[in-house]
Every structure is written in C-alpha cells, then in structure tokens.
Subunit: 210 residues, 2 copies
C-alpha cells in the first residue's frame, strides 16, 4: 500500500510515519518507483504497536525505540524480557545509594525471590526510595512489603501469559513481553486508582480524604 | 538565596529553574533589586518534588504541572486525590469503547469495589484493553482478575500511608498523595520486574524464557 493508505488505516500521519522510519522504530518501505514507496501489513501492525507504547503506555519515542530494539534482538527469540523491562522503565540519572539497594534487596529476600544484582527493577525501585529520603519522606517506604506481595500476584499472571504464547512463535511471544510489560504498567496504574477510590470510600466515606 | 545557590543545592540548572517558573510549576522568587531575585527553602523543596516527578516518576513537564496544580488546589486541603491520579496517568486520546469499560467495571464489581463511572483509572484501564483488542491480543486481558487482587493490596497500603499523614497538615498530606501516587507507580513497576525475573527463574530456570 502507499503511505497515504498506511496513514489512513493506522491513524498515524504520513509525517509521523516518515519520522518513525528515520528514527529507526519502523522499517523503511520498499521503493517501487520514483518518489514512491510501498508498505505492507507488517508495517501496519508495527505502527499499531508503536502507537500503543507511546499513547497508552506513556513512553517517549526514544523509550519506545529502546523497547522495540530489545524485543527485536535476534539472540533472544522471545524478546529479551529483562532488556525490554529495562528499556521501558524511566532512566535513572544517577546510581542509587547502597543503602536503598540493600533495603529493596532485603524485601526481595524476605519474599524468597531470586533476583540478580543488576536487575533494572531493583535499580529503579532503589532510586524511588532515594527520592523519598531526599524529600524527607522515608515514611513512604512503609508500603514496600505490601507492594512486594502485590507484584508477586502480578508476576505470576504475567509469566502465565508468556508461557501460553511460547508455542505461537517468537514474534507473538516478543509482542507479549513488549505489550504485556509496558501496557501492563498502565493497566496496573489504572486499576490502582480504582482500588484507591474504593478503599478511600470504605475508610473515609468519600473518594478523597479531604 | 540567589538563583546560583538554589541551582547548586537542588541540582537543577538556573536555566531549568527559570523555565519551571515560566511554565508555572515553580512560584517566582522575590525581586530584591535590579536583576536580582531571592529564593527560599520552599523553592528548594518544590524543586526536589518537581525533579522527583519528572526524573523518577517519568512524567513529562506538562503532566508534572497538572499533578502539582491538582495537589495545590485550595478547595482540597489534602490534595484532590482523584485529580492528582488523573493528571499523572497518560492522557487517553479517544474515549475507550463501551465494551472495554464494561469489562473493567465488571472486574471492579466482582472485587466488591465502589468506583464512580468517571474514575480516571477506569478510563485508562479500558483504553489498555482496547489496545489489546486492536493488536489482536485479547488473550492478554486474562490477567485482569489477578491484577485487581494485586492492586487491592497496593491501595490498602496507599490509604494507610495517607491516613497517617492526615494530622501532619495539608502540605504533607498533599505531598503524600503526589509522591505516593506518581513515585508509587515507578516503585511498583520496578518491583514487578524483580518479581518477573524471580518467577521466570522458578518456572524456566532462567530470567528470560528464551
């Protein structure tokens, strides 16, 4: 199909499509003549994935590019789960403190988790604790044990879903990791607001404690 | 203090400080003479909060502005919890489908939650379901019941924390909502990656199912 049809079917403007190609998120179309390029259904599927990561997952274009590159890595037929996870977390500007890393690792040990030292989530979680400390709000870290129990339920469901797609081929499994990880964060954030309202109503009789 | 000292103590460049003032995230300093402005500890605290939302919470400057405006709202002494939540979720471009809204509302009802129709989390979660459908991956919605159980644990811990700061005054309580909501999403995302690695090791013997 021509770029105009690709734009119409994907809902992405021709200018954005050209930009995604130049930024390396989308493979170039096939040149079929002077000033004419042809795109296929793979381009359409890829564009839908890019839009999902950016518009619903809230990723920047740069982060979406990193996530897709990790999922495309041919050395990892099902997508490099940890690589995708790393790329989809906000980049941590400075290494977190040893104290915060130790506190998060302690929580993991108490849950009986097997997590290697370089796990990007460990670094991201420790960076949040550092920020609580810098804001003088160490008390907020009291949520850690409850959050750890919660994400255990989440991770079990996540790995269940990945397991079920192992037979569907590498493209499907990689998509599961990308979509399930990035959009899964957005799904959790949405459900969390719903549960917060409900819990606030239960305790204070109103959706807001004010 | 002068802007140079504020920049040094906050780790934010003078140019960024001026930009945050012009964008309305940070109150202007006090003019103390020709071409000279004075800032105080409130500016420093506010800058640390802004940096946390953007660098660790992964918010855009525009989203951070919305979150701070909701928390500053004088009609809501403890911050407008739902307003803050809404501002900190990625904006949903188009209204989600009635079918996805119904599916998410069904999950909430099965959990016994009290959630009003306009809850921003409900809209955000339904938008994710729509995206799963558009990508031909309706199977990913199978995680919904497990995610709902998980966020119930999260919300209980969140409201516990807010309850404990109700006596500390409106500024502290508003900060709890802002920091706890936005950085809490980042903390959950980090812990989720750790639990995913652990669950993957438990089932596949490796951190990645490839």
């Amino acid at each position: 199909m021509r770029i105009a049809e690709l734009a119409e079917r994907s809902g992405v403007s021709a200018a954005s499509i050209k930009w995604y190609v130049s930024e390396g998120l989308l493979p170039a179309g096939e040149r079929t003549g002077y000033n004419q390029t042809s795109y296929d259904d793979d381009h359409l599927a890829r564009l839908r994935l890019i839009r999902s990561l950016i518009e619903v997952g809230g990723l920047s274009v740069a982060a979406a590019k990193d996530v897709l590159a990790a999922a495309d890595d041919p050395d990892h037929p099902f997508g490099n789960t940890l690589g995708v996870a790393q790329a989809s977390l906000p980049r941590v500007a400075a290494p977190p403190s040893a104290e915060s890393l130790r506190r998060v690792a302690d929580v993991a040990r108490r849950q009986g988790w097997t997590v290697h030292d370089g796990n990007p989530g460990l670094v991201a979680a420790a960076a949040v604790l550092d920020r609580y400390l810098a804001l003088g709000r160490d008390d907020l870290a009291a949520v850690l044990p409850a959050y750890a129990r919660a994400v255990e339920l989440v991770a079990e469901a996540d790995i269940d879903t990945i397991s079920k797609t192992l037979d569907a081929g590498p493209a499907t499994a990689a998509q599961t990791v990308v979509v399930g990880t990035v959009l899964g964060d957005a799904l959790l954030a949405g459900l969390r607001r719903m549960a917060q309202e409900s819990e606030s109503v239960r305790r204070f009789g109103t959706g807001s404690p004010s």
